[in-house]
């Protein structure tokens, strides 16, 4: 056995991200790792590559216990990882990138470029990879970069190569190229741990599959003995929300987005429609383009095609400013990066989008502003020392309340919420759910996006599936099960 974990667990703030994992991997096998968002796949990879330290349990490498404290140590024993977001230096050539983190061969105190070139092209040739190694990484196409990363991984003797969603940014044709290389690696005896949401690839490539669920390992199965449906069944507790009052009446259509296509190609062809009075859940797996879709609708991310209609009226060239005036609001998933200004006071954050309401001739009435902000933070029960406190000093839940306060100040008709309960406490989470339901009952439309399927099924009236940058099924959340929802995500 090449790799074995024994009773491996990992906690974050007292909550188990991984619990009692007994996982094993043979040399020369392609091993699939599947599970929902947050099942613990990434955590396991990070432990194996020395990013997270191991606290409970042990890792055996060729039968010997090993300590993996840093990525360097992990690489030294022969574990390499290729992430979906690549880790090349854009301005370095292929050769320089292949040598990242390794000692350069020297001759007489000078770098021996000839020797470097020889060794890198040797490695590439052995893998059947054709690549112009003198090109800068920035000039290479996505599959070329993936190839370069594989070359880099194989520069050292790599016994286990971990591929984390390697095809996320590749076209089908480019993926085929990668699969060929995987076959070559396998025939050379390198073990591969293949992590993906794509079922087709799992069945095409792997010998065995391990299923994770809620931080626990369900089981390892032989690929030839299983099929898609039973795999999906094992990835989720077949969970179904208590039926939400399905008699809820839906009002007029407030927002309709049709065939949205983002300029960067992440959103390929996605549509959605929100009515007054409803909470539309949007669910997609990591990398499905859900965040990008909302940003396109809101006018924040450049669009290539498609149209946005508000109350049946077509809107051209929406900008965030225009979107706000038309009654849209975006709660971004990236709280620190796109929703808060950490260094400014709570008052200044809350008033950010509605300064015009308190101003005459460009001059802000401090009194009006303070009154309005006070009323809003009181309504949302933000816990703080004073409204002049800097936003960064608040807890996650209270920061998110400040974001909601800012949003409510503009009286939006349609809420676009992207992971609105991410990293907030249980209490705040319930308050946010209640707040959004209230808004819907008062005639607003709410889009609720979360990577937590359970949460989406708890709160949504209908669920729109997004996968691979495209909108798929629209499900009534009426007695459906999590397994049905997941099946929609995986059957493309």
């Amino acid at each position: 056995m090449l790799l074995q974990t024994k009773h491996l667990s990992k906690q974050f703030n007292g909550i188990y991200a991984l619990r009692d994992i007994n996982f094993s991997l043979e040399a020369g096998e392609v091993h699939g790792l599947v599970g929902e968002n947050g099942a613990g796949k990434s955590t396991l990879i990070k432990i194996l590559t020395g990013v997270y330290s191991l606290e409970e349990g042990e890792v055996l490498w060729n039968g010997q216990p090993v300590q993996l404290h840093t990525p360097v140590e992990s690489r030294r024993i022969g574990i390499s990882v290729i992430h979906q977001d690549r880790t090349l230096v854009p301005t370095f050539t292929g050769i320089e990138n292949a040598y990242l983190g390794m000692a350069y061969p020297c001759k007489g105190g000078r770098v021996d470029w000839k020797e470097m070139r020889r060794r890198v092209s040797e490695t590439a040739q052995a893998l059947g990879i054709e690549l112009d190694l003198n090109k800068m990484a920035a000039e290479m196409s996505p599959p070329q970069r993936t190839c370069l990363e594989i070359v880099r991984a194989m520069m050292n003797e790599c016994k286990l190569l971990i591929l984390d969603e390697p095809t996320a940014s590749l076209t089908d044709k480019e993926s085929e190229l990668l699969f060929g290389i995987i076959d070559t690696l396998k025939s050379k005896g390198t073990a591969i741990l293949y992590v993906t949401h794509r079922m087709d690839e799992i069945f095409r490539l792997t010998d065995r599959i391990t299923i994770f669920k809620n931080g626990e390992m369900v089981e390892t199965v032989w690929t030839k003995d299983t099929d898609k449906d039973s795999l999906i069944g094992k990835m989720t507790d077949n969970w179904s929300a208590e039926t939400i009052a399905s008699s809820r009446r839906m009002g007029e259509e407030l927002l309709r987005a049709e065939h949205i296509q983002s300029k960067d190609g992440i959103v390929k062809d996605a549509s959605l429609s929100v009515h007054a009075g409803e909470i539309l859940g949007v669910f997609g797996l990591g990398g499905s383009g859900r965040t990008e879709l909302l940003e396109c609708i809101y006018g924040y991310r450049p669009m290539q095609g498609g149209q946005v209609m508000l109350k049946g009226k077509k809107e051209e060239n929406l900008t965030p400013g225009k979107a706000i005036r038309k009654g849209l609001a975006l709660i971004s998933e990236d709280r620190r990066g796109k929703a808060l200004i950490g260094n400014l006071a709570i008052r200044e954050n809350v008033a950010l989008s509605c300064l015009g309401d308190f101003a005459a001739g460009g001059v802000i009435s401090g009194k009006k502003e303070r009154e309005a902000v006070s009323a809003m933070v009181k309504r949302l029960q933000v816990k703080m020392a004073s409204e002049e406190q800097r936003a960064i000093e608040l807890s996650g839940g209270n920061q998110q309340k400040v974001v909601f306060a800012k949003t409510l100040m503009t009286h939006p008709q349609v809420f676009l919420c992207d992971e609105p309960t991410q990293a907030v406490d249980v209490m705040t989470r319930a308050e946010i759910h209640r707040l959004l339901r209230e808004q819907a009952d008062q005639g607003c439309g709410v889009v609720f996006m979360s990577s937590d399927l359970k949460e989406v099924m708890e709160i949504a009236d209908r669920i729109q599936i997004i996968s691979g940058g495209r909108s798929r099924e629209l499900l009534e959340n009426d007695g459906i099960t999590s397994q049905q929802v997941l099946a929609c995500c995986y059957h493309q």
Partner: protein, 314 residues
């Protein structure tokens, strides 16, 4: 202990100012600590204050404008040349302001549109402006045939108080108010705090960047024209020396704010510290190189303090 550290952060700079004044007062009681000398200092720093307010605006959106010095030089040269060529005096001061507004707008437009470093953009603009100055003057100071009235702004006194000091005070009050109490000021600070959040919040970020750079250029230009008016001639590099000290003043000013952000009152304090140091050290007959060493050390110290004051925000 923690409280002491906090109050030191908030009031340390003002304390330093008080200590500097105290030391000079003890060493040169008769010459330094007099009303007359303080009026004198207020005039000496007035030009630096106005140009530094410009730098404050640009720094509030987290950008740099390295062309403030050459913009000031150009302002002085343009206005002097117009006066020499017989344009009515009010126009000699108004037209350069309009031209600087356009130049600053171009700075902001390039920075916002192409998302390039303002550092490099304005360094380039600074060189362009120096070239323009040379084209206009041939490198010579403009001093012949300047009408008498041209010097009025820079030399007039209301009783004992120089008009320059009054103009400075007016700008401090005006821009202090703008930055604190208007939509414009709040949006500039928002952009400086987090550009992406500002965008999502519906703020037209490029527009406000243009405005900040344009106002900065205008204030630089005004400074340059006042320098020319004060000395009755326009030197081709008159404003260049103001570039470094204006940013020094803004950085010192950041330390006066609890949030560690650029602010007009703080900038005034920064200018006062630098101005009083120069004034006092000269009285002590300290050689210029020592003055440079002390001033430079204070600038470095202020930048470190500003970083500490910002704490762990973002």
């Amino acid at each position: 202990m923690k409280n002491m550290k906090k109050s030191l952060q908030a009031y340390g700079t003002l304390l330093a100012l008080a200590i500097i004044i105290l030391v000079f007062s003890i060493l040169r009681p008769a010459a330094f600590f007099t009303v007359r000398n303080f009026i004198n200092i207020s005039r000496q720093i007035s030009l630096m204050v106005i140009i530094s307010i410009g730098a404050t605006l640009v720094m509030s959106i987290n950008e740099f404008d390295l062309s403030v010095g050459s913009m000031a030089s150009l302002g002085g040269v343009m206005s002097a040349l117009m006066a020499v060529n017989g344009l009515p005096l009010p126009l000699c001061f108004l037209l350069p302001i309009l031209i600087s507004l356009v130049i600053g707008w171009i700075n902001g437009w390039i920075v916002a549109k192409f998302k390039v470093l303002s550092f490099i953009t304005t360094l380039g603009m600074s060189t362009v402006l120096s070239g323009v100055i040379y084209r206009l003057t041939g490198g010579a100071t403009v001093f012949q045939n300047i009408p008498k009235g041209f010097s009025w702004l820079g030399t007039f006194k209301i009783g004992e108080i120089p008009l320059l000091s009054v103009i400075m005070l007016a700008f401090v009050v005006l821009f202090g108010f703008i930055m604190r109490h208007t939509v414009l000021g709040r949006r500039l600070y928002a952009i400086g705090g987090n550009e992406e959040t500002s965008k999502v919040a519906g703020i037209n970020v490029p527009l406000y960047k243009n405005i900040a750079f344009a106002l900065c250029a205008v204030l630089s230009c005004i400074t340059g024209m006042l320098i020319a008016s004060r000395v009755g001639s326009a030197n081709t590099t008159a404003g260049d020396g103001y570039f470094l000290s204006s940013y020094a003043a803004v950085f010192i000013g950041c330390t006066v704010s609890k949030k560690g952000i650029p602010n007009v009152l703080g900038t005034l304090v920064g200018c006062a510290i630098l101005g009083i140091l120069t004034n006092g050290l000269t009285m002590l007959q300290m050689p210029t190189y020592m003055q440079d060493i002390i001033t430079g050390a204070i600038i470095i110290f202020a930048v470190i303090m500003q970083k500490l004051g910002k704490g762990n925000a973002n």
